[in-house]
């Protein structure tokens, strides 16, 4: 062992110290970078007894990362559903203000509440059939009910259009992330082959996977050469050496019965009824569930209510031997010339209106509600044949009919036999139940995702104090090396001076 060997060792110590300081600096610099995994320098003894930084290890935790991504995907799906449903629930929400205790309008603007208001208005009209204002009030209540159904239907269309637009944006994001992923993945693969430091590229890759999982649930597999493949949660390949094409055709306008296009990967549908195995999580799955299942089902319920109304207020031929068909009375829809069948009610909620012949605001005569003849000028449809001012037979019939049990189409997903009011209430229950469940699931999944994120951050993130401690140790090592260097130097000087 010579003094010059000591010089070599001290010199390697400075080099190793510098490399470790670089790692500490990088860690400290990235303390708040989301998705950054802290790095550790691996120091080894070299052949002549010095220290070398052999490699830099990235503290990654694939299991926790996968867990965080999966829970983020679940949270995103539930959040998307909850947001859409709460928009729909707005249309049926109770005005919870305790100050409005007067009978009318305390129950918000839901079709159910409006139906109850119509029932009340009819009961009032029945008690004072001569009152023109009671007739007007009953027609106004009917008109509010029709508007409420129109508004509900419009809200469904709006939610579906927004979900479709969100799907477009989501697909665009996925495609863009997949192409970014390609360059990061390529950098990792070629870096590993050449022995370069690939930690930054790996960070980028992980962060892209985390972003992807917001859009759709994904799982990843790393091949022997370091190349990472991405699969959607239904097993469809999204990335393997190269990005797959995620396709989607937006639909501009949604009306009842419009079916939106499915999202495809390499031409195979991954959402909707046409998909053999649809994706289960991520915002994309949430939007698809909202657009293809939940909103259309609520639409079907509104359509059933509209068709039920048109049928219950229909006018029949009052002749002693009736021959004419029953016609839409108080409630009708533009272009409707006969009673709609409950199994073909699609879109009625959007167009239902109060018959212009009975609507004073459109030049109609509100007393036709009492007398009949709303549907047609044909006297066969007049119930009050003598024109008596206090004739209540027809109003009574309408009131009775509203509380009578009728059948509904099973496609609405509610009871098939109920009174119209009962059906409307069941529809509110269905919507609020779905809304409550989605909201609960969203807050639960968000909490889980936060936990998973925090676990991941604790496992792979940077602790400033730990890095500072490392830095102090490095500082001391540096000082010792410098001291060693001056000592060895002094020894050399002594040796040379002695000669």
């Amino acid at each position: 062992m010579s003094l010059s060997a000591a010089f070599s060792i001290i010199s390697s110590s400075f080099a190793a110290n510098a490399a470790q300081t670089a790692v500490v600096s990088k860690n400290i610099a990235n303390v708040n970078t989301s998705g950054y995994s802290r790095e550790v320098a691996n120091v080894v003894t070299n052949s002549y007894g010095g220290a070398d930084v052999a490699s830099v290890t990235r503290i990654a935790n694939a299991a926790l990362a996968e867990q965080a991504a999966a829970s983020a995907a679940q949270a995103a799906a539930q959040q998307a559903i909850s947001d859409g449903l709460s928009t729909l629930a707005e249309t049926v929400s109770d005005s919870s203000s305790a100050s409005s205790t007067s009978g009318a309008n305390q129950n918000g603007a839901s079709p159910s509440a409006m139906l109850a208001n119509l029932q009340n208005a009819l009961a009032t009209y029945e008690a004072s059939p001569t009152s023109a204002s009671a007739a007007d009030a009953a027609v106004a209540a009917a008109s509010n009910l029709a508007s409420s159904l129109n508004a509900g239907s419009a809200a469904v269309e709006q939610v579906r259009e927004k979900a479709d637009a969100d799907m477009t944006a989501s697909v665009k994001t996925i495609n863009s992330l997949l192409s970014q992923f390609k360059s990061a993945n390529d950098a990792v693969v070629s870096g590993l082959a050449t022995g370069a430091n690939v930690t930054s590229a790996e960070d980028t890759r992980d962060s892209i996977v985390a972003q992807l999982s917001q859009q759709t649930g994904v799982s990843t597999v790393v091949a022997a050469n370091g190349s990472m493949s991405i699969y959607a949660d239904n097993g469809v390949t999204l990335f393997q050496d190269a990005p797959r094409t995620v396709g989607f055709t937006p639909t501009a306008t949604f009306t009842a019965g419009t079916n939106g296009a499915a999202v495809t990967v390499d031409g195979v549908p991954i959402t909707g009824a046409s998909s053999p195995n649809p994706i289960q999580s991520g915002a994309l799955a949430g939007y698809a569930a909202l657009r293809d299942n939940l909103a259309p089902q609520y639409q079907a319920q509104l359509d059933q209510i509209a068709a039920g109304l048109i049928n219950e207020f229909a006018e029949t031929d009052q002749s002693p031997s009736p021959t004419l068909p029953s016609l839409p009375g108080l409630f009708t829809a533009p272009g409707l010339t006969s009673l709609p069948s409950l199994s073909a009610a699609t879109g009625l909620a959007a167009t239902i209106e109060v018959n212009p012949s009975v609507d004073p605001s459109r030049g109609g005569d509100a007393t036709l509600l009492r007398d009949g003849g709303v549907s047609s000028p044909n006297p066969a449809y007049v119930y009050n044949s003598t024109g008596a001012a206090s004739f209540t037979g027809r109003i009574q019939q309408l009131v009775d009919q509203l509380s009578a049990t009728q059948s509904f189409d099973p496609s609405a997903g509610l009871a098939t036999s109920a009174s119209l009011g009962g059906f409307a209430n069941a529809s509110v229950s269905w919507l609020q139940d779905a809304n409550q469940k989605a909201s609960d699931a969203a807050s639960y999944e968000n909490a889980v995702a936060t936990q998973a994120q925090s676990a991941l951050s604790n496992a792979t993130g940077v602790n400033l104090d730990a890095e500072m401690t490392n830095m102090l140790a490095l500082e001391n090592a540096y000082a010792s090396s410098a001291k060693l260097l001056t000592t060895v130097n002094a020894m050399f000087s002594a040796l040379l001076n002695a000669a």
């Binding site: 303390v31 708040n32 503290i59 709460s86 629930a89 049926v92 929400s93 109770d94 919870s96 305790a98 009978g103 009318a104 305390q106 129950n107 839901s110 159910s112 509440a113 109850a116 208001n117 029932q119 009340n120 009961a123 009032t124 029945e126 008690a127 004072s128 059939p129 001569t130 009152s131 003598t386 008596a388 001012a389 206090s390 004739f391 209540t392 009574q396 009131v399 509380s403 009011g421 009962g422 209430n425 509110v428 229950s429 269905w430 609020q432 139940d433 809304n435 409550q436 909201s439 925090s454 604790n458 993130g461 940077v462 602790n463 400033l464 104090d465 730990a466 500072m468 401690t469 490392n470």
Partner: protein, 354 residues
């Protein structure tokens, strides 16, 4: 350096209080709303699949309130009808007493005529009583005065029909002096024959009454319909009209005392029969009135129960909410305090500057 369970990354430590504070703030906003309104902030979200049930309870409350206030109108109409029936009854009583006191010896019949005219006018006025813009004795035909004015100019259809019947029977008018020779038995058969026919059937509905024989019915409680009016096409009204017309038309006529006596006694017996029938009508109306009162009190107790059920679903315990607001406020304050402390907990603060 090894990773251990107690390793905490700096961002995770710094953010650890953000989520709880956000949650506490959201809960505080909700609790404040609930404290001020006494109801859940978002009922639909709170009730979920109970929302429809809650709505149906509220709708029942609304319907009962509507029916109760509609019953107010019905009750007013019936009270008006009842008062008019009472007035008609007391006018009949007065006429009966006057008839009992009357003798053909002291009076040539003029007072019979006055008696009849007064009573007929009062009958017509009472029968045309209105309430809430409708005639209470019109049946469902409430927009037309039920009894036509007998004394109108030009002469009413009823008056013309009476004159014609007399003319047909005796060839003269009652005001003709020749009428004095008409015998009591002839007048008796006229009164119970052609004259009586004028006050029933088609003659009544064409000459006297515009009312419908169909009475107004109304829903006085959910699913319970009652007949809530009466009409003038009833024996009581027809009998009284017949008796009073008899007196008004023939009392002051040229008929002889014997005929006058026949008229007076015939009128008296008609009034007595009609009065009994009137009492029945009034009793039936009274029964409906008490049915409405009963329905109202039944609905009122039902309303109390329903309101309790609605409250059980909608209302928050305001004491519990107040306590929650306190603890949330404390939680947020402590979180702020901790955040500030954590900021200080940093090795860099303690390292000497070289």
């Amino acid at each position: 350096m090894t990773m251990s369970a107690n390793f905490v990354s700096t961002p995770s430590l710094a953010m650890s209080l953000v989520a709880p504070v956000q949650q506490a703030q959201a809960s505080l906003a909700t609790a404040t709303t609930e404290e001020s309104t006494g109801q859940y902030a978002d009922l639909g979200l709170q009730l979920g699949d109970q929302a429809g049930y809650e709505l149906s309870l509220k709708e029942q409350v609304g319907l009962l309130q509507t029916l109760t206030s509609a019953n107010g109108l019905v009750a007013t109409n019936m009270a008006t009808a009842d008062a008019a029936l009472t007035a008609i009854g007391s006018s009949a009583d007065t006429t009966m007493q006057n008839l009992a006191a009357w003798t053909p010896i002291g009076d040539p019949g003029v007072s019979l005529q006055t008696m009849g005219e007064n009573a007929l006018q009062s009958l017509i006025a009472s029968s045309n009583a209105t309430s809430g813009g409708g005639y209470v004795f019109g049946g469902i035909n409430s927009s037309l005065a039920p009894l036509a004015d007998y004394f109108s100019t030009p002469p009413s259809a009823a008056k013309t029909a009476v004159d014609q019947a007399f003319q047909t029977a005796f060839g003269v008018l009652p005001s003709d002096p020749a009428a004095a020779s008409i015998s009591a038995s002839a007048i008796q058969s006229f009164l119970s024959g052609p004259f009586a026919a004028l006050f029933s059937g088609a003659s009544w509905t064409s000459d006297w009454s515009s009312a419908s024989s169909t009475n107004v019915s109304a829903e006085i409680a959910p699913g319970r319909t009652a007949v809530v009016s009466t009409n003038v096409n009833q024996p009581a009204f027809q009998g009284l009209a017949q008796a009073y017309t008899m007196l008004a038309e023939f009392g002051g006529s040229q008929l002889g005392p014997a005929a006058q006596q026949t008229i007076a006694s015939q009128a008296g017996s008609l009034i007595a029969t009609a009065h009994a029938s009137l009492t029945n009508t009034q009793a039936a109306l009274g029964a409906t009135q008490s049915a409405v009162t009963d329905a109202n009190s039944a609905m009122s107790s039902q309303l109390t129960i329903l309101q309790k059920q609605v409250d059980a679903l909608d209302s928050v315990d305001q004491n519990a909410t107040a306590a929650r607001i306190n603890s949330l406020t404390t939680e947020i304050q402590m979180a702020y305090e901790l955040t500030a402390r954590l900021q200080q907990l940093n090795l860099a603060q303690y390292l000497p500057v070289p």
